[in-house]
Amino acid sequence: MSKLSTRHLIGIKDLTVEDIQQIFETADNFKAVINRPIKKVPSLRDITIANIFFENSTRTRISFELAEKRLSADTINFASSSSSVSKGETLIDTVNNILSMKVDMVVIRHPSAGASKFLAKHIDAQIVNAGDGTHEHPTQALLDAYSIREKLGDVKGKKVVIVGDILHSRVALSNILCLQKLGAKVMVCGPTTLIPKHMSELGVLVEHNLRKALEWCDVANMLRIQLERQEIKYFPSLREYSMLYGLDKPLLDSLGKKITIMHPGPINRGVEITSEVADSDQSIILQQVENGVAIRMAVLYLLAAQG
C-alpha cells in the first residue's frame, strides 16, 4: 500500500478515503498490540515527538503520550501554563526553540483555529493537530468513526446525529467531514443559537427536536456545552438546556430501538447525558478512549513512515 497523501495531519479535510481506510487497518494491528502482555513495539525508537498543549486536556494528551511511548518514541511534554509563553514568547519562537533541540514531530493543541496549519507552513517538523480552536480535531473524528466501524461493522450508510454545542465544537466539524467521507449520513441537533448558519451547505441535516433526531439515528454523539468558549449567553440556563437536549434513560428506552451512545469527553454528567446513559451497555464511551490510543499510534506510525 502507498503512503498517506499528506505529510501532516492538520484536518480531516486533507485526508482521502484511502488514507482513512489505511489508518483504520493499521489501527486494527495496534489494537492487538496494546492488548498484549508487552504493549510496546520499537517502530519509532529513533523519533522524538514534542507534545505542545496551549489548552487544557486530559484524554487527548495522555492518549497521544501513551501512543508515542507504545511506539518507543522519545517524548517531550510542554504545557503553556508552565512555560515561557506566559513571558510573552510567540508561537513560532516557542516551537522553533523546541525544534532546534532536534524534534521530528509536533503534536499541538491551540485555542486559535489554524494554529497547526500555520506551524506546518513555517517549520520543518511534521505536525499533528490535536485540536485547534473551534476548527478541527482530526484524531478524535478518526477514533469516533473507528469506534462506529468496530461496533456496527461499517460506517457506510449509518445515520449519526451529533447533539449539542455544534457552534464551538471542533469535534463536530471533524466528525461531520470524516463520517461523510466514509459514506455515513450526518445530522446535527441543538438549540438554534448553537448551530452555525449554512450548516446544510455541508450536506448535513439540521434538527432542533432531540427526540426526532434520536428516532432517526443509529448513533448519537453527545457533545459537551463548551462554556469556556462562550463569550455570550446562548441559552437561558444549563438546567433548561439539559431538559431539552439532555439524554436520560427514559428517553433512550422509549425509542423502541437500541442506538449507540458516544461522547468525546469530558462528560458533564447530568447536563448533556445522565450517568445512567453514560454507563449503560449502549454507551461505547470507554471503547472510544481505548481506540484513541490505537488510532493515534496508527497516525504517528504512518506519518513517521514518510520521514
Binding site: M1, S2, K3, L4, Q22, E25, T26, N29, A32, V33, R36, P37, I38, K40, V41, P42, S43, L44, D46, L71, Y301, L302, A304, A305, G307
Partner: protein
C-alpha cells in the same frame, strides 16, 4: 531475466515430509512445542507444515500461530514504501514453549532478527528454532542460521527466489530468477 525451476511439486512435497519428520524427531511428543509462521510469506509454508504434522502424528491439538513482524523491522523510514502490517494470531502462551519459527526464504537474516524480537514480546520461550524452505547461503548480514533447511541455494544478492505455494497444494514450485534488469 532468466527463470530457473529449483523445486517442482513432487520434490517440494518430499521436502515438506522430511522437515515434518525432523520436527517430530526433535520435539518429544510436541507437548511443549509450538509452530509459528511468519507473516506474510512464511504462513503458506507453515500452514502446510502444520497440516502435514497433524496428518502424520494424528495429534489435532498442535499449537500453531502466525506472527507479524512489521513493527520490529529495522528498515522503517529507510525505504520508499510504507511497511504495512499483516494479521497476527498467537492465541496461546509463548512462555516456556519450544517455538519453531517458519519462513519461506532465509536471506539476510534481518527478518528473523525482527521475528525473535516480536516473539519475545509475547513472553519468554524456552527455546526458539528456525525452519526455512530455502536457504540462500553466503548472503547473511546477521549471524543467523536455520535449524531445519529444506533446500540450499547459491545465488547473487540481486537474484530473487520466488516460493509459489498454492493454498490447494497443487502446482507448487520454487523459482530462482536471475539477471533482473534494473529499472
Amino acid at each position: 531475466m532468466k527463470e530457473k525451476l529449483l523445486l517442482d511439486q513432487k520434490r517440494l512435497s518430499i521436502i515438506i515430509d522430511r522437515l515434518c519428520h525432523q520436527l517430530i524427531e526433535n520435539h518429544n511428543g510436541f507437548n511443549d512445542s509450538a509452530i509459528v509462521g511468519l507473516q506474510p510469506r512464511g504462513v503458506l509454508l507453515s500452514r502446510r507444515i502444520h497440516q502435514r504434522m497433524k496428518e502424520i502424528t494424528g495429534n489435532q491439538n498442535l499449537l500453531y500461530g502466525e506472527l507479524d513482524i512489521t513493527f520490529y523491522r529495522d528498515d522503517f523510514r529507510r525505504r520508499e514504501s510504507v511497511l504495512i502490517p499483516s494479521e497476527q494470531k498467537i492465541d496461546f502462551i509463548i512462555e516456556n514453549k519450544n517455538v519453531i519459527l517458519i519462513d519461506d526464504v532465509l536471506f539476510t537474516g534481518r527478518t528473523i532478527r525482527a521475528a525473535m524480537d516480536a516473539l519475545t514480546a509475547f513472553g519468554r520461550p524456552s527455546s526458539v528454532e528456525l525452519m526455512v524452505l530455502i536457504d540462500r547461503r553466503y548472503s547473511r548480514e546477521l549471524p543467523i542460521e536455520a535449524t531445519y533447511v529444506g533446500h540450499v541455494v547459491d545465488s547473487r544478492n540481486n537474484d530473487k527466489v520466488v516460493v509459489d505455494l498454492k493454498q490447494t497444494g497443487t502446482k507448487d514450485a520454487v523459482w530462482l530468477i536471475t539477471n533482473i534488469e534494473n529499472k
